[in-house]
């Protein structure tokens, strides 16, 4: 084996992903035999900063900047953990607005991911089309929160801005738009023969592996684990809705395999699910008047938090899976402990079983298939173990390998 295998480091800088990370692949010809992960290139020490310098309100804005795409998920889990620690109950209307922002974000995040996935397998037209339809929900988010990302809507004990009648009208018209384009969405992704041939049986994660590797979100659901915090342990306004986890076999009418195709199916249909959830949430919002925060005066809130002793956990089903926060308060200006667990932290480990046995040309789509929230590398070095020679393979080259494979499949289909 040693005579035939190569070591292929991908990373730490790689534009396929949004953040920095390194993979060291051992390949035998085109096939990957072993994978090693090298993480931590973008560790920013935010937990240290918050527990040493920030008060609990300032920490919301730090939490918001953990991730640029799911920028509401971290504040969602964070404020829950703080409210549990300090014994604060947010008003009902705030709970609905929180869930609305969470679902709008899921729509834009999943559509963004669909575009990235299309690009990785060489369908750039689809990339541009999906990102075009994504603009609609971003416009709604901008109209109701003031920002396309980093909405700054959350605060401990409520939300900062109300959604008025005009806002809910805008949301409803956006939902109408997504209901109309959804057929095309399904036709171009799920029913397309080339996409299916390119992603079926690629990067398989079995159900057993997914449970043992503690995978979360669409990565787990794509393998048939019906895990969704909104269904298992409903929080906020989600308790009013009957949500069930999207499992691919319901839509593909085939056995769930846990491959890239199944993960695509989960994400595409979660867009439709979010549309349905938002319809119900808009109805709820219109019939629930009331305050949006338990205490308008932030000084009072801060004083209460400064005196509080307690600990709490917050969980939110983000687009990529469960976000988990643990906070502890102990009569101090800053929180004593703050632990942040982003979904990709748990999904890292799932890459290893997924990548083993795949081809190098499939690596970009397998990496993208868990929708990783980290930056990525622009080059990879191929080291020949026999001669000791190494050469740098750019991501572009690797992507082109992937595109060639798609073209070949297209030719075969035609």
């Amino acid at each position: 084996m040693a005579e035939k295998t190569f070591t292929v480091p991908i990373g730490p800088i790689h534009t396929a992903l949004k953040e920095i990370e390194s993979f060291i692949l051992t390949v035998d010809g085109e096939r990957v035999v072993n994978v090693e992960l090298d993480l931590g290139y973008s560790h920013r020490g935010l937990e240290y900063i918050v527990t040493h310098r920030c008060n609990p309100i300032q920490a919301i804005y730090i939490a918001e900047r953990i991730c640029g795409i799911c920028s509401t998920s971290h504040p969602y889990a964070y404020v829950q953990s703080m409210e549990h620690a300090a014994g604060i109950t947010p008003p009902e209307r705030a709970e609905i607005i929180r869930a609305i922002i969470g679902e709008l974000e899921r729509i834009h995040s999943h559509i963004l991911w669909a575009g990235v996935a299309a690009h990785e397998i060489g369908f750039d037209t689809l990339l541009h089309w999906t990102w075009k339809i994504r603009e609609n929900v971003l416009d709604v988010l901008e109209a109701i929160t003031g920002n396309r990302v980093n909405y700054a809507m959350f605060t401990i004990g409520g939300v900062r801005r109300d959604i008025d009648e005009k806002g809910s009208r805008q949301i409803r018209s956006s939902l109408q738009f997504y209901r109309e384009v959804f057929d095309t969405f399904v036709a171009t992704f799920i029913e397309d023969t080339t996409v299916k041939m390119r992603t079926r049986d690629v990067g398989i994660l079995t159900r057993e592996e997914a449970e043992k590797q503690v995978a979360v979100g669409p990565t787990a659901r794509g393998s048939g684990v019906p895990k969704d915090v909104r269904h298992d342990k409903p929080y906020s306004a989600y308790a009013d809705l009957d949500i069930y986890p999207i499992i691919p076999d319901e839509f593909t009418h085939e056995e769930t395999k846990g491959d890239v195709y199944d993960r695509i199916v989960v994400r595409i249909f979660e867009v439709l699910q979010s549309v349905h959830i938002l319809e119900d949430l808009c109805d709820l919002l219109e019939s629930t008047p009331g305050p949006i925060t338990y205490q308008q005066n932030l000084v009072v809130v801060l004083n209460q938090l400064k005196r509080a002793v307690g600990e709490g956990i917050g969980r939110h089903e983000a687009p990529r899976g469960e976000v988990f926060h643990y906070s502890m308060l102990n009569k101090r200006e800053q929180p004593v402990v703050w632990k942040v667990r982003a979904p990709t932290y748990n999904n890292y480990a799932s890459w290893i079983p997924m990548m083993k046995g795949t081809q190098i040309a499939d690596i970009p789509i397998v990496i993208a298939s868990i929708d990783p929230c980290l930056s990525c590398a622009d080059r990879m070095t191929v080291v020949d173990e026999r001669t000791g020679k190494s050469r740098v393979m750019t991501l572009q080259e690797m992507r082109e390998m992937g595109w060639r494979k798609t073209k070949e499949i297209k030719r075969r289909v035609a």
């Binding site: 993480l39 929080y235 308790a239 699910q273 969980r315 502890m328 632990k339 480990a349």
Partner: protein
């Protein structure tokens, strides 16, 4: 291929995962209080804790529960094994803090995921004395726990016994040995070298 209201209402697929085996008998998901009593019964004096209840929902109120446990470290591994007999437990993460004389780790598990409104969070606390901060690995039961265990080693200076891969994950290789970012008893001189307040430096 399309459904009218996908993801809403009753799940259309077979719920084969709603029964669990306990003591050779098939059972459904337990309420948190019963699970807590069962743990109490099997572990006796070695565990203590409480069940916390929270309410969610607007028009339809629903309760959800969390079990907060403190377990002796000798029996921690056994407790995880006990849980894994019911269902493969989900480990969200292990958090930890420097509690003066001890290091307190909290493993955030959950059981009964996949069943509507039934998931129970189990936050399991383990205290380790600072002079001997050793804990058993749980990667033999949950291989996915590896990253969080590695993180606890580098951030808090905990020693995880039998860990398959003891390298650092998030901190850089330049960080001096013996410096643990989440501890409160670090050498202030070393800390001064490592921590820079950029706003004070005018950056």
């Amino acid at each position: 291929m399309r459904k009218k209201r996908a993801g809403m209402g009753e799940a259309p697929y077979k719920k084969d995962n709603e029964t669990f085996t306990y003591d050779g008998k098939k059972v459904t998901a337990y309420p948190a209080e019963k699970l807590f009593d069962m743990i109490k019964e099997d572990f006796g004096e070695d565990v203590e804790g409480e069940v916390k209840t929270f309410t969610a929902g607007v028009k339809k109120k629903k309760e959800y529960k969390e079990i907060w446990l403190k377990v002796k470290r000798e029996r921690f591994h056994e407790l995880v094994e006990w849980m894994s007999k019911i269902q493969v437990p989900h480990l969200a993460v292990a958090s930890g803090r420097d509690a003066g004389e001890e290091i307190e780790l909290i493993y955030h598990f959950s059981l009964f995921y996949g069943i509507r409104d039934s998931e129970v969070s189990l936050c399991v606390k383990v205290s380790l004395p600072k002079e001997d901060p050793v804990i058993d690995t749980i990667t033999d039961i949950l291989p996915g726990a590896l990253i969080t265990e590695r993180e606890k080693q580098e951030m808090l200076g905990v020693k995880v016994k039998n860990i398959p891969d003891p390298r650092r994950v998030f901190t850089s290789d330049e960080l001096p040995e013996g410096y643990y970012p989440w501890r409160n008893d670090n050498d202030p001189e070393v800390e001064k070298e490592l921590v820079r307040d950029l706003s004070k430096e005018g950056l």
